[in-house]
C-alpha cells in the first residue's frame, strides 16, 4: 500500500488499462497535450500517443456519439467531460443511443464506454458547472453509475468500469480530487466490483447511506455526532448507484433501525427517494422511525458562497437531519 491522490488513482487506472488492453482509448477537451484541465489525464499522451489520446474540439454530442460508434464495433473508449454538466449537450447520444443500444438490438450490439469527469458543488462555480447528475442517469436503464469516494475505490472501480461491457458513468466529485488515501502498489491488479457497497464506519444508532463527496462529509458528521451527543452512526458507502446494493443497506438498517440517505443531486425524485421507497417496499418492519433522504434543495446552484453553503447537503445539514431523527 501507498498513499496517492484521487486524481492519481484515476490516472493510474486509465494508464494501466491502456497498457493492458489496446482497445482502450481516450477522447476529450484539453486532455492530451495539456493533460486535462484538472490534470487527470496527465502524461497519457506522452505514453500512448495522439492515436489513443485524442484532443477533441468542443463537440460533446459529436465525440460522445463517435465514442459510442467505436464502442459498438469493439473498442473501449473513455470520454472525459470537463464538467459533468455538459453531458446535457450530448444527452441524446448518451441516453437514447449508448444506454439503449444493447436492449434495442436484442442483445446484439453492446457499448463498452466509460463517461467520466468531475462534478459537484463547493467551489462557487454556479448553476451550469456544479451539478450532481447521478440521479438523472439512474433513470436510464442500460447505463451503470459509479460514484467512488476514496482513491482506492476510484482506481478499482474505474478499472472495473473500463472492463465492463456496458456504458458506465464514472463520477468524480471536484472536492475529492486532492484527497489522499491508501492504494495498492502500482503493480497490483485489483478491481472493486461495480454494484457493491462498503461500510465505511460501523455504528448502531442510524444508517447513513451515501457516496462520493457527501461520504466524507457524512464521516465527519458521524465523528462529531459521536463526540457531541454520543450517537453511533453507521456510514454505508454505496459506491455505485446503478446497480444499487440494497442488500448492504438492508443489513445495516436491520442493525440500526433508522435510515438516512444523503446525496448531492436533487432531493426531489433523487436516488435517496428511491432508497427510502425500497426500504418501505422491501423491509418496512426494520424501521424504528421513518426513513429519510437529504439531497440538494430544489434550486439551481448559486455562486455566492453563503448561498451555496446553505443548500449543499453537507456536514451541517447532515448533522441537523440526523439530530431530527434521533431526538
Amino acid at each position: 500500500m501507498r498513499k496517492t491522490t484521487y486524481i492519481q488513482a484515476i490516472n493510474e487506472a486509465m494508464r494501466d488499462e491502456m497498457r493492458r488492453d489496446e482497445r482502450v482509448f481516450l477522447m476529450g477537451e484539453d486532455i492530451g497535450h495539456y493533460g486535462g484541465l484538472f490534470r487527470v489525464t496527465r502524461n497519457l499522451m506522452e505514453e500512448f500517443g495522439e492515436k489513443r489520446v485524442i484532443d477533441t474540439p468542443i463537440s460533446e454530442q459529436g465525440f460522445i456519439g463517435m465514442a459510442t460508434g467505436a464502442a459498438m464495433v469493439g473498442l473501449r473508449p473513455i470520454i472525459e467531460l470537463m464538467y459533468m454538466d455538459f453531458f446535457l449537450v450530448a444527452a441524446d447520444q448518451i441516453f437514447n443511443q449508448a444506454a439503449k443500444m444493447y436492449y434495442m438490438t436484442g442483445g446484439v450490439v453492446n457499448v463498452p464506454l466509460v463517461l467520466r469527469g468531475q462534478h459537484g458543488g463547493g467551489k462557487r462555480y454556479g448553476s451550469q458547472h456544479s451539478q450532481s447528475v447521478e440521479s438523472t442517469f439512474a433513470q436510464f436503464p442500460g447505463i451503470k453509475v459509479v460514484t467512488p469516494a476514496t482513491p482506492y475505490d476510484a482506481k478499482g472501480l474505474l478499472v472495473a468500469a473500463i472492463r465492463d461491457d456496458n456504458p458506465v458513468l464514472f463520477l468524480e466529485h471536484k472536492m475529492l480530487y486532492f484527497t489522499r488515501g491508501d492504494v495498492p502498489d502500482a503493480d497490483v491488479d485489483y478491481v472493486v466490483p461495480i454494484g457493491k457497497a462498503d461500510i465505511k464506519r460501523e455504528g448502531t444508532d442510524l444508517t447513513l447511506a451515501t457516496f462520493s463527496y457527501t461520504l466524507l462529509q457524512a464521516l465527519e458528521a458521524a465523528e462529531e455526532l459521536k463526540a457531541e451527543y454520543g450517537f453511533d452512526i453507521e456510514v454505508v458507502d454505496l459506491r455505485s448507484i446503478t446497480p444499487l446494493d440494497m442488500e448492504t443497506v438492508l443489513a445495516s438498517v436491520a442493525k440500526t433501525g433508522r435510515l438516512l440517505a444523503v446525496h448531492e443531486s436533487q432531493s426531489n425524485c433523487g436516488i435517496g427517494a428511491e432508497i427510502v421507497a425500497r426500504i418501505y417496499e422491501e423491509a418496512p418492519y426494520l424501521l424504528k422511525a421513518p426513513a429519510r433522504r437529504l439531497g440538494m434543495a430544489p434550486v439551481s446552484i448559486p455562486v455566492s458562497k453563503v448561498l451555496e453553503e446553505e443548500i449543499l447537503p453537507w456536514k451541517k445539514n447532515i448533522k441537523a437531519a440526523v439530530l431530527e431523527m434521533l431526538r
Binding site: 484539453d30 495539456y34 468542443i58 454538466d85 449537450v89 462557487r124 453563503v306 448561498l307 446553505e310
Partner: protein
C-alpha cells in the same frame, strides 16, 4: 508540451477583408478609451481579488478582447439585444453596466446585478439589452437568434448580436442556428471573438477549417474577417452589419481576430503558450492601439492621463463598494426558482 506559435500576427492575417473603416471624431474615441480603460482596470482588479481567494469558481477575463465590446457597443443601441459567453464582463461594461454591481456580483454579494446567484459567468441586465452571458459553449447563440426572431415577429426595429469564441464553431447547435438565421434572414449579427485558443488548446489542433469566417459561407451568409482589436474597424463593421439586418438583408458573420492577454481563467498557469507569444501580441492589443491612435490624432498624454486617473478612482471605489457589500440573506437561496 508542444507550444503553438501563431502563424500570423493580426494585421497580416487579414485575408479577404472587405469591411468599412471609419475615422471617428476624437471626442468619441476618447469616450471609447475611457470605457476600454475601465474594462481593463475592472478585469485587473478582479484578477487581484481572485488571487487573494475572494472569488471562487471559474472567472474568465477579457483582457485583450476589449476592442470587440467597445466597437460593437458604439455601433448598436441599448435596445439591440446582446448575448455573450462566460467571458463577458467587457460586453456588459461597454454597454454601461455599473462596475459596482458587476464586481459585487462576481464576489457573490447581495448588491450584485443577480444578487450573487449568477456570478462571473452569467452577466445580465435587460435594461441595457444585455440578455445573458452563458456558461455553456454556444448556448447563447440561438438565444440571440431567437431574440432577432422575436423582433421580426413583433415588427420592432431591433437587431441582436451574439458573441462567441473560436471554440464554439464546433458545437452542432451553432450550425443549426446559422442555417435558420440565414434561411429566415433574421436581424442577427454573429460575432466570433477569435483569440486562437479554446481553453488550453490552440484552435489549429482541432479544427479542419483554418479561417473561421469561411464556415458560414456554405449557408450563403455574408461573412468577414476583421481586426477585432481596432475599435474603428469593429465599429464600422458592426454598424454595416446592423444596417443590413435592419434592412431585412439577414445575418452577418464577423470574425474579429484578437488575442487574450490574460489566462483562460483566473489561476490559469498558461503552460500551453510562451511569454514571447504574449509579448509579441501586446503591440496589437486594443488599448495600446487606441492610445497610439489618439496620440497620433493630436490628443495629449495629459488628457489621457486625466481620464485614466478618473477611471482608477471609479474602479477603486467600485471594488471597495463590492467588498463592503453584505452577503445575500440566506433566504435568497430559495427564491427565483419560479416566477410568481
Amino acid at each position: 508540451m508542444t507550444k503553438p506559435s501563431l502563424q500570423a500576427s493580426i494585421p497580416s492575417a487579414l485575408a479577404d477583408v472587405a469591411t468599412a473603416k471609419v475615422t471617428l471624431p476624437n471626442d468619441e474615441l476618447l469616450k471609447m478609451y475611457r470605457s476600454m480603460f475601465l474594462i481593463r482596470r475592472v478585469e485587473e482588479s478582479l484578477l487581484e481579488l481572485a488571487e487573494s481567494g475572494k472569488i471562487g469558481g471559474a472567472m474568465h477575463t477579457a483582457i485583450g478582447h476589449e476592442g470587440s465590446a467597445i466597437g460593437a457597443a458604439w455601433a448598436l443601441n441599448k435596445t439591440d439585444y446582446l448575448t455573450c459567453t462566460y467571458r463577458g464582463h467587457h460586453h456588459s461594461l461597454a454597454r454601461g453596466m455599473d462596475p459596482k454591481r458587476a464586481i459585487a456580483e462576481v464576489l457573490g454579494k447581495a448588491t450584485g446585478f443577480a444578487k450573487g446567484k449568477g456570478g462571473s459567468m452569467h452577466f445580465v441586465d435587460p435594461s441595457l439589452g444585455l440578455m445573458g452571458a452563458n456558461g455553456i459553449v454556444g448556448a447563447q447563440v440561438p438565444h440571440a437568434t431567437g431574440m432577432a426572431l422575436a423582433a421580426r415577429i413583433r415588427g420592432e426595429d431591433r437587431v441582436a448580436i451574439t458573441f462567441f469564441g473560436d471554440g464554439a464553431l464546433y458545437q452542432g447547435l451553432m450550425h443549426e442556428t446559422f442555417n435558420m438565421a440565414q434561411k429566415w434572414k433574421l436581424p442577427v449579427i454573429f460575432y466570433c471573438e477569435n483569440n486562437r485558443y479554446s481553453e488550453m488548446t490552440p484552435i489549429s489542433r482541432t479544427s479542419s477549417v483554418s479561417e473561421i469566417y469561411n464556415f458560414v459561407k456554405a449557408y450563403g451568409m455574408v461573412s468577414v474577417q476583421i481586426n477585432g482589436n481596432d475599435v474603428e474597424v469593429v465599429y464600422a463593421t458592426v454598424k454595416e452589419a446592423a444596417a443590413r439586418a435592419r434592412a431585412g438583408e439577414g445575418p452577418t458573420f464577423i470574425e474579429g481576430l484578437t488575442y487574450r492577454l490574460s489566462g483562460h481563467m483566473a489561476g490559469d498557469l498558461e503552460t500551453y503558450r510562451t511569454s514571447e507569444e504574449i509579448e509579441m501580441q501586446k503591440q496589437y492589443e486594443p488599448l495600446a492601439v487606441l492610445q497610439q491612435r489618439l496620440i497620433e490624432r493630436g490628443v495629449s498624454e495629459d488628457q489621457l492621463e486625466k481620464i485614466r486617473a478618473e477611471v482608477e478612482a471609479e474602479v477603486e471605489a467600485a471594488v471597495e463598494f463590492a467588498q463592503d457589500s453584505p452577503w445575500p440573506p440566506i433566504a435568497e437561496a430559495y427564491t427565483d426558482v419560479y416566477k410568481v
